[in-house]
């Protein structure tokens, strides 16, 4: 089975901090994604990467950037964290059978 590992389950950061969320997949799949999930809004795509160093903006990229230096690792960066970025962040990779998600990182910005 595919495994997607997110480095932190819970994070608390201060407003203005730079925040790194890490995601690692154990298959050799090209496509990886970062979503945020909020009550009533569902899953919203932040960024997508289809290969090393390749990325595309999703529906809500403002305030975020990403990095993919190795195929297995996809990082989400909050350049200057704000309280409206408090959310559940989900990483996913795409294989032949669809998306596999990580367990999520619940980020609170205070």
């Amino acid at each position: 089975d595919v495994k997607v590992t997110q480095s932190s389950r819970y994070l608390v950061k201060r407003t203005g901090e730079k925040v790194f969320l890490e995601c690692v997949q154990d298959m050799d799949h090209e496509n990886m994604f970062w979503y945020r999930q909020d009550p009533g809004l569902g899953l919203r795509l932040i960024y997508f990467s289809y290969d090393v160093k390749m990325k595309e903006k999703g529906d809500i990229p403002e305030g975020y950037s990403v990095s993919r230096e190795k195929k297995e690792r996809f990082s989400l960066i909050l350049e200057s964290a704000s309280t409206n970025q408090t959310s559940m962040y989900l990483c996913a990779e795409q294989g032949p059978g669809g998306y596999t998600f990580g367990s999520g990182t619940r980020l609170t910005v205070v």
């Binding site: 569902g42 899953l43 795509l45 989900l90």
Partner: protein
């Protein structure tokens, strides 16, 4: 209007009941349809994956797609308390990476 509509619930049923979860959509180009289950504070996990119209069965779960009505369903037979979770539908067009998700239906199965 959202591309994918899903009743948020919560839906409460007694143990052993048959559960029906539904999504409607507006994009007739959608070809692949998925159901994900998400337990509290966890990531979604894939339950069912179907292509185009028809039914697919896996144990107690049946996924049904009616493309003419733009309507998909997930049926759970003999529901168990362990089925209590949020169920997300997702769909996508052929040749694209992007999934469109419903907002999820929260299900509670009462022992």
């Amino acid at each position: 209007q959202k591309e994918v509509e899903q009743d948020p619930g919560p839906l409460s049923v007694p143990e052993g009941a048959i559960v029906s979860l539904n999504c409607t959509y507006s994009n007739s180009a959608f070809q692949y349809f998925m159901w994900y289950r998400q337990y509290s504070r966890k990531g979604p996990e894939l339950l069912m994956y179907t292509y185009s119209s028809g039914n697919k069965e896996d144990g107690r779960f049946t996924a049904q797609v009616d493309k003419s009505s733009k309507y998909i369903s997930l049926f759970i037979r003999d529901s168990q308390p362990s089925d209590s979770a949020t169920y997300l539908c997702a769909m996508t067009e052929s040749g694209t990476y992007k999934y469109i998700f419903g907002t999820g239906t929260r299900l509670k199965v009462l022992a």
